[in-house]
């Protein structure tokens, strides 16, 4: 916590431990990358091949797409995640708008109605949800609806936007009303342009959650053409007669690239989007 000086010496006492920690954190990923380049035989028999990389990365990835239906899984997961992210963002922004810019009877009760759902994790209600989906026929006929519709509302998102909107100066809303703008008009021309970072942060978190969805997909989707990517990774663990760690690691890498790329691309907005929520 030294006062910041413009021209500082390189702090090796901080850099060295940080470099070591970063390396340790990345070991599992580096090992996955290395393993993904090996054939079954190279992975199965000693000596362990920790370096240099093998030549089988491309064939392993090809196996995913040719024998495990990964192309279809990726398309399905992209669609499902996009619907969840967009739906959640819209519903959460509308709820934030209602809570911050309106006074109405039952506000407290409705607020707690939303808040209380923080207590109800979807993992616990999958059993009755499964029964409900069979009654609707969604599990068989409309797996994409079954994978998206139950997850469009989010208490966390509603509070994130409520918090962010509360920090926006009230004069803007007053000015908009004087100009005769409707609430939706106000949202599009004032709130949304001022909320890009929060929208990005919220969308990224929700995208990661949706992309990584696994348990519900295992239960509800019984048709391989509608399955999602994480189930594909799990299938890769049972690929072939002997465990093929090359294919499994390739599956893990392919399945992780979209969220990782988005995280790295949107990192700046993501961090500042959360900087707003942290202040109380």
């Amino acid at each position: 916590m030294t006062p910041s000086v413009k021209k500082q010496k390189t702090r090796w006492d901080i850099h060295v431990p940080l470099i070591i920690i970063c390396f340790v954190m990345c070991i599992p990923a580096l090992y996955a990358l290395q393993s993904a380049t090996l054939t079954v035989a190279e992975g199965a028999f000693p000596p362990p091949k920790l370096f240099p990389p093998g030549n089988d990365l491309i064939p392993n990835i090809q196996d995913l797409f040719e024998k495990l239906n990964f192309g279809q899984y990726i398309v399905n997961t992209v669609i499902v995640s996009a619907v969840i992210v967009v739906g959640k963002t819209i519903l959460a922004m509308l709820a934030g708008l209602a809570f911050v810019y309106f006074q109405f009877a039952g506000k407290t009760v409705l607020f707690f109605f939303v808040l209380l759902t923080l207590l109800m994790p979807t993992e616990i209600i999958l059993l009755p949800l499964f029964n409900m989906m069979s009654q609707l026929g969604w599990g068989q006929t409309y797996p994409q609806l079954a994978l998206t519709m139950p997850f469009l509302a989010t208490a966390t998102g509603a509070f994130l936007f409520r918090q962010h909107f509360s920090n926006i100066p009230r004069e803007l809303a007053e000015a908009a009303q004087i100009d005769g703008a409707t609430p939706l008009r106000f949202m599009f021309s004032v709130l949304i342009p001022m909320s890009w970072n929060v929208i990005v942060a919220h969308s990224l978190i929700q995208f990661i959650g949706a992309w990584n969805q696994y348990l519900w997909a295992v239960l509800i989707v019984n048709n391989n053409d509608s399955q999602v990517i994480q189930v594909g990774v799990r299938q890769a663990a049972n690929f072939g007669l002997t465990p093929d760690y090359g294919v499994l690691m390739a599956a893990g890498i392919v399945a992780s690239l979209p969220p990782l790329l988005l995280f790295i691309l949107l990192q700046k907005q993501f961090m500042s989007g959360f900087a707003i929520t942290k202040e109380k």
Binding site: M25, F104, L119, W138, Q177, S256, I276, K278
Partner: protein, 467 residues
């Protein structure tokens, strides 16, 4: 600080066209998605319609229930809730009015029926075993708490309005804006949650439709089930290890990574990214690392150092170590992210003042930094416990599939068969007792919910006007 953030926030990617562009793409995409599956949406509406049409019947069933049992059976539960409501409202609200306390009693009494009604008041009969009586009382109080929390906030002045001016005038619009969210939560969260409770009170075997009301017997059966008890202990051991390691290590890393050094952003990225991976992928990578023989990374290193290898996933304790390692690695980045944010919140002048007063680095950490981080720690505690209870499913399924078996041929369960894993293993095997799975779900829910309720106290003080 707010205004900085807000100005910083107004950086649209495509200039002034961003909002219309995003809107158009969104509308087209959602339109395509829902219109292409319109029949499915229609079946939801007709299902909803038949549910609404059935509402009078449901109401008459409730009334029949109350009239068919003696008041001595339902009055105690209402009384407990009302008493709880009166006492807590009088204690928690400063200078409560008579009206407020009376409302507390009313809301508490009604709220108690939320969870007692599904049990058909079966725990309030003279011949109920004592343990079930206690559970019934607990259900009544839990229901009251859920109903009372909004009341307390309301009595304290309601949810914060974030200002006194700038409200739009409309009677219908706020409800219209909230409708999609409320409807979705009602249909896909509240309704199934109540169904879970109901499910747990019946005895039924998976594909068969016949069911029989068994009161809380499923719960007492679970308490006597040795496999369930093992699973319970294992869950807590794994949860405890995951939370302690992930929070402790994350705090240490964040202390280092929040220093102002060059490339700080690069370090942060390298430390945070694993949180974007799924538990399934984390499980898969650790499966490769901990695999048998000496070709996996861990055994290869062990072999090079000591000349022996270990069958990690065949030994009960070592398999748990592998699960904890995968889980900690998976969630650590998330904790680091929030601890770095928290450390930036610690006022620099406070630390400087303390160091002028002669407080050393260690004292400053314990007396200033750690207390200032408390809200972040508490938030992360809840998130990490939730992850260790629920999110860990994918890692367990990929890495160990609940194994290795305990006892002869798994007669005592699996060494890493945590509650969430056992729940869905039990629920979807043909012939498995659905009621027992439902009871497991309710218990798991109560475990995490009670922790989150604790968080409500801190949350509530933040969202209400305190006098």
């Amino acid at each position: 600080m707010n205004e900085d953030n807000i100005q910083d926030a107004s950086r649209p990617i495509f200039g002034e066209y961003t909002a219309p562009l995003v809107l158009t793409v969104t509308v087209v995409f959602l339109g395509w998605f829902f219109l292409s599956q319109w029949d499915g949406i229609l079946s939801l509406f007709s299902w909803l319609g038949s549910g609404i049409a059935d509402a009078p019947n449901a109401l008459s069933r409730v009334i029949t229930h109350y009239t068919s049992i003696t008041p001595s059976q339902w009055l105690p539960s209402v009384g407990i809730g009302a008493l709880f409501g009166v006492v807590t409202t009088a204690r928690l609200i400063s200078k409560p009015s008579i009206r407020g306390i009376a409302l507390g009693g009313l809301v508490g009494g009604l709220g108690s029926q939320f969870l007692v009604l599904p049990t058909q008041h079966c725990t309030y009969t003279p011949e109920t075993p004592p343990i079930q009586v206690i559970m019934g009382v607990f259900l009544a109080i839990f229901g009251s708490v859920i109903a009372l929390i909004p009341l307390w906030t309301w009595l304290r002045g309601g949810v914060s309005h974030a200002g006194t001016s700038g409200f739009f005038r409309s009677r219908t619009l706020p409800y219209l804006f909230l409708l999609p969210m409320v409807l979705n939560l009602l249909l896909f969260l509240y309704y199934p949650s109540i169904q879970t409770v109901t499910l747990s009170l019946f005895s039924r075997r998976f594909p068969l439709p016949q069911e029989r009301f068994v009161c809380l017997n499923n719960y007492t059966a679970l308490a006597e089930d040795v496999i369930y008890r093992n699973s319970f202990i294992i869950t807590f051991v794994i949860m405890f290890a995951v939370v302690v390691f992930s929070l402790g290590i994350a705090l240490g890393i964040a202390l280092l990574a929040s220093q102002k050094v060059r490339y700080a952003n690069v370090y942060r990225t390298l430390l945070i990214w694993p949180f974007a991976l799924s538990p399934v992928v984390a499980g898969a990578i650790f499966l490769a690392m901990f695999r048998e023989g000496n070709t996996g990374l861990i055994n290869a290193l062990l072999n090079a150092l000591t000349g022996t290898t270990v069958s990690w996933l065949r030994d009960a304790n070592l398999a748990r170590v592998a699960i904890v390692a995968a889980a900690v690695w998976n969630i650590l980045g998330f904790n680091v992210l929030f601890y770095i944010a928290g450390l930036q919140n610690v006022p620099k002048d406070l630390l400087e003042a303390a160091s002028i007063d002669g407080a050393n680095r260690v004292q400053r950490f314990w007396r200033i930094t750690l207390p200032m981080l408390a809200p972040f720690t508490f938030f992360l505690l809840v998130t990490n416990v939730t992850y260790a209870f629920y999110g860990i499913y994918g890692a367990v399924d990929t890495l160990t599939s609940g194994g290795p078996p305990l006892g002869a041929a798994g007669s005592l369960g699996g060494a890493t068969s945590v509650l969430i894993y056992k729940l869905y293993e039990d629920a979807f095997n043909p012939g498995s007792p659905i009621g027992l799975a439902g009871a497991q779900a309710v218990i798991l829910f109560l475990l995490v919910a009670s922790l989150t309720v604790l968080q409500f106290r801190t949350l509530e003080s933040r969202i209400t006007y305190s006098e």
